[in-house]
Each structure stands twice: as C-alpha cells, then as structure tokens.
Symmetry: C2
Subunit: 339 residues, 2 copies
C-alpha cells in the first residue's frame, strides 16, 4: 500500500523532512521543530526576503514533472528574486498545502529537490508549515538572503540612454510549457526537451546578479517571471522611464528558432511575451559595457544587450518593440496575467 | 457593479495595497514594489521567522467572519509564534491566492485588518505575493521578529518538576468554532459571542512572551494552536519529559462553563482538546513563581499553573490528564489533526 500523508501524520512528516535536509548554514541557530526559525543577524548587511507560490493546475501539472524537479523549481523561483537584487541566499521556509492522500514518496521527492537546489545555491531549510487542502497541491517558498546594503539593485534606477540587457535566452520556458500542454509527459524526452527542461527547472542567476551588484554595474535589475513586455514595463514604471527593444536582438535558442520556423515574430512572441524564464533583466549606462561583459564572464552567464531606456512620454506606450526594419510591432502576447 | 480582482489587475492591486498600509518600521529600507523586501539587520539579535496559512473551508468560512477580522487573525496566528519564542515582531510578508472574482472590497478589508493588527503589535508589511486560485482563498503570512539571541525560549527546555502554565483561558476558540458551525453568522451576536470573537480574533501574547524571555523565567515555551493535549505532547517530546495536567486547574471562561453546564469533563474536552486558542504554554521551575507572577502583571496577562513536568517513562503516555479525585482521564478529543 502506498503511504499517504494522512497515514504518516503531521509530526512524523515534519520530523522526516527535518531529518532529510542538509544543514549547511553556520548562521542557523534553530531550524525546524520550534515555533519559529532562529538565525543570526549581521550588521551592515541588508536582509532580503521574498515569497512565491506554485499552485497545481495553475503553475504546474503534477503529471508533467517529477517531485524532485518541482521542488527545485519552487525554490529557484524565489532564489531568482534574491538574484535580481544582487543578493546571496541564506535560508528558506517551505509551506505545503496538500490533499491528505498525497503519497509520502511525492513529498520526500519534493524536499529532495528543494534540498539539492538549496545546497547548490547556498540556502538551507529553516522552517515552514504544512496544511491540508482538498483540491490541489500548493507549495510556497520564502527565501531570505543578504548583501551589502549600499549595493542593493532596485527596479527604479534605470536612466535615459541606459542599455537594456537580459541574461541567457528568452522564450524557452513558454515554448516548453506549450509543448508540455500539447504532448504531456512525452515532451520530457521529445524534440523540444531542452525547452521543457528550462520550464521545469529554471536556474536562478545568482552568480551574475551578485557580480553586477558588487561592481555597481547595473542601474536597475529584476527577474523575468511574467514576460519581457510586462516586466520591462514594471522596471520602466519604477524608474519613470520608457524602454525600446529590438526584437532581432532578443537571444533565443535553436529550439525556439526551429519551432518558429525561423520567423522572427513567432520566436519573439514567445521570447517577449512568455513568462517564467527567470533570466535577469537589467540596465546599465553605455560607459559600463566593459565591466558588464567581465561580470558575465566571471559568472559564466551569457548576456545580451537588447534595447535602450528612453524618455517617458505622455500618451506613448512604456515599452515598444521594433522589428528589423525599425517599425513598431504590436506583439500578440505580452506576458502572463495572474488574474 | 462590484469591482473584482480580475477587473482591477495585479499591478493596480499591489499598488493599492502598498498605498493603504502603514509604514511604521525604521528598519524597512524597501517594502513592496521590488523583487524582494530589504530590511536592516542588527548584530547580536537573533532573527525569528515563521509562516502560516489560513485556508478557506479548512481554517475559516468566509460567511462566518469579516475581511477585517480575517486579516487580523491571519497575522495574529504568526505573531503568536513570535510571542512563543519571546520575540518582538518587525515585518510581515502576506501572500494571497484567490479566485479572480474575489471582490476588491474584500481584499481591501482584509489588508485593513492585517495593517491594524500589525500597527497594534509593531509589525509592518514588507512584501508578499498574489496568485489566482479557482477554488478558494488561501492567505499566508510570514512574520519576522527578533530578540537577544541569548534569551530565545525554545520548546526543549522543560525539566522534571517544572510547573506548567498557560496564559488566558482555554477552549473558547473551539467553543466559538462549534457555535459558528451550528448557528452561522448569528453566532457573532448570540449567547456565546465572546467565545466566537476569541475564535475569529485571537490576541497574540507578545507582551507576556517578551517579559518571560527577558527575565529568563520560562524554561520552555510554545503557543497553543492545535490543542493542549497535542501541543504539550510536542513540548514534552522536545524536552525529553512528560507532563501531568489537573483538569480542574485549566482556566475556562464563564461562557464555556455555561455551555458545559458546569460539567468539568465537558469543559475540559474543549479546553484540553480544542485548538486555536493561541495562548502561551510554558514551563518554569517552582523557584521562579514570584517572577512569573510579576511578568504576568507587567504584561496585563492572566496566567494559571495547570500541572507539572514529570519524568518520561517507557510505555507511559507523554501527557496525562487527572480528574479532581486524582484519577487519569482519557479525554474524548485531543486536538486538531491537520491530516
């Protein structure tokens, strides 16, 4: 018989989770097992905190991933927010609301993924919460990070003339999601398996974010969770500026080019409109181009300049996309709308 | 027409929430509106962090409360965990997963309650997350607090001979819940309205918790969320001890006594078995009785000794309840089982 969460019980579940997770943090005084986690504070350092949820049926389909990958993704999504400030992760709290008949093996696999991802990026489980939810699984992660408080990079620092950069390649996550929706689990090993892997297991760009912050190279930064169109709009709003993107410059993978049959607009719709890439979007004065390139090399992360910050003008769109011949293009999709 | 969350949109919702909340924290560098919250760390102080969720249909029924009270309760439940360590709250992150047709007025009311509760106890909104969930509302709170790291009170410090105390009165929350389930919204103004109010709007015992920690008066402490039977069992497990409670000593309200028609066992079943009282459960050596009484006075919180910590014995129950004539009693309900 399959062991379920209801047959194991809450206290035994929590004990099993606590026992299976790595303790890598010298700053952790007390992790799971008490009312709150207890950690050491360090003066002069800013504390960063962020929280995200993955909801079954909205953000993932259980049959389209593995518990391990789901665990990794859950933590990565929040680690990506720490990366976007230029921070270093420290601890995470994980909350799970789940149907009582959830197999214990599923939850064990999930925490293995969370733990492996945490080990890789330097974050360790400090606590959390479990609850019963009849309809679906909801996994929430809260990640704490820190950094020199004088070097935090916000969304609001972009200035007229700054170059707009992105890390990695855009659109693969949206492509992977589409293929998963069309082909189900077969997508994991099919023609577009790399795009599917990017969707299921995004890598938070912590090394790049930290390098950019350390060298004061980025004027504004955020991570791409809802799509370039929406997210660049937010960065521009916060900065009181506007942004112009050249579609042909957006870095896309060979898989996405193949899927779009070489068509620029087709690939761009995924790349500019698709969410959940968890790449970094940042701006920097032209004069910092050399430093930016060096930071990318040191963090072994590819970066690409894709456009420019412009002046905000009344009645004009905040974000515009230009085709190869310089015309403004209206993209069919402009990102993930939560409601 | 009623404005819903889907008609307002995510960014406008977040902006409205950010605009409506108090900024009372000098330690907050950046709250809502960026990828993470940014706060100041203080050396020598332990950082406390805790997270909880209220799930519609499991932890609350929308028609049985108001958005304002629901907001207060959501934050209070986590503040209670900070109280249980002896800490002082600093910041909170609030995450809401909700159906797209949720009225905007409901969410505004909810945040008003969260904000009022935060103001009262010294915690301020630092960030959060919103997501769409078709079936029901899920509200999650993460609260950060801090305290002198040499004075944190854990669950694990109870020793043989220590006196077991509780704050306030037990069982009213369970009674209030029962009346709400039987009478619906009419319960809010009925015969047992004080018990109902305790269920819907529990008060975190922050002042008492801080006094006990400051004076190193409590050997072990936790808050009562799942019922005295289960929670004392956890405290004893963590301390490698056992506990004996005299049922007649458990403090109960006149409302509960009335409901139980003066019967000790009936009242005790609510008081010892009912969850969500959010009172403090703590232990202390007999020699500290005077200090304990003074701490209770200074924090204007009633406390009651209800039993004693005993030695753990193989094959014996960890927690035992004694009736007035000294016999061991098996209570019909032993607390809230999550699964």
């Amino acid at each position: 018989m399959t062991k379920t969460i209801s047959s194991v019980g809450e206290d035994a579940l929590v004990a099993a989770i606590a026992g299976s997770c790595s303790r890598i943090a010298p700053r952790l005084i007390k992790g799971m097992g008490d009312d709150t986690s207890v950690t050491v504070q360090k003066s002069g350092m800013a504390l960063l905190a962020t929280t995200d949820s993955l909801i079954e049926g909205i953000h993932f389909v259980r049959a389209h991933t593995t518990p391990y990958l789901l665990g990794r993704r859950c933590l990565s999504v929040s680690l990506s927010d720490i990366a976007a400030m230029g921070g270093r992760p420290l601890f995470h709290l994980i909350s799970i609301a789940m149907p009582p008949d959830t197999p214990k093996a599923f939850i064990s696999g999930l925490y293995k993924g969370i733990d492996a991802c945490g080990l890789e990026y330097g974050s360790c489980l400090a606590g959390g919460n479990t609850a019963s939810l009849p309809d679906r699984l909801v996994i929430s992660s809260t990640v704490f990070g820190e950094m020199d408080k004088r070097r935090v990079v916000y969304r609001s620092g972009a200035r007229h003339g700054d170059v707009i950069y992105v890390s990695g390649r855009l659109g693969d996550s949206a492509l992977g999601l589409k293929i998963l929706q069309e082909d189900g689990p077969a997508a994991l090993t099919g023609r577009y398996k790399d795009a599917v892997a990017k969707h299921l297991n995004p890598a938070p760009r912590l090394a790049l974010g930290a390098e950019l912050a350390k060298g004061r190279l980025a004027s504004a930064m955020m991570d791409l969770s809802d799509g370039l169109g929406i997210d660049l709009g937010r960065l521009c709003e916060a900065s009181g500026a506007a942004g112009r993107i050249e579609l042909a410059k957006i870095p896309v993978s060979p898989q996405l080019t193949h899927y779009a049959k070489g068509g620029l607009l087709g690939a761009a719709a995924f790349a500019a409109g698709g969410g959940e890439d968890y790449e970094l979007l940042f701006t920097s004065p032209v004069s910092r181009a050399k430093g930016i390139a060096a930071a990318a090399r040191r963090s072994s992360t590819s970066i690409t300049p894709i456009g420019i910050i412009t002046e905000r003008k009344r009645g004009r769109q905040t974000v515009t996309f230009l085709s190869e011949d310089g015309r403004e293009v209206d993209l069919p999709v402009r990102g993930f709308q939560h409601f």
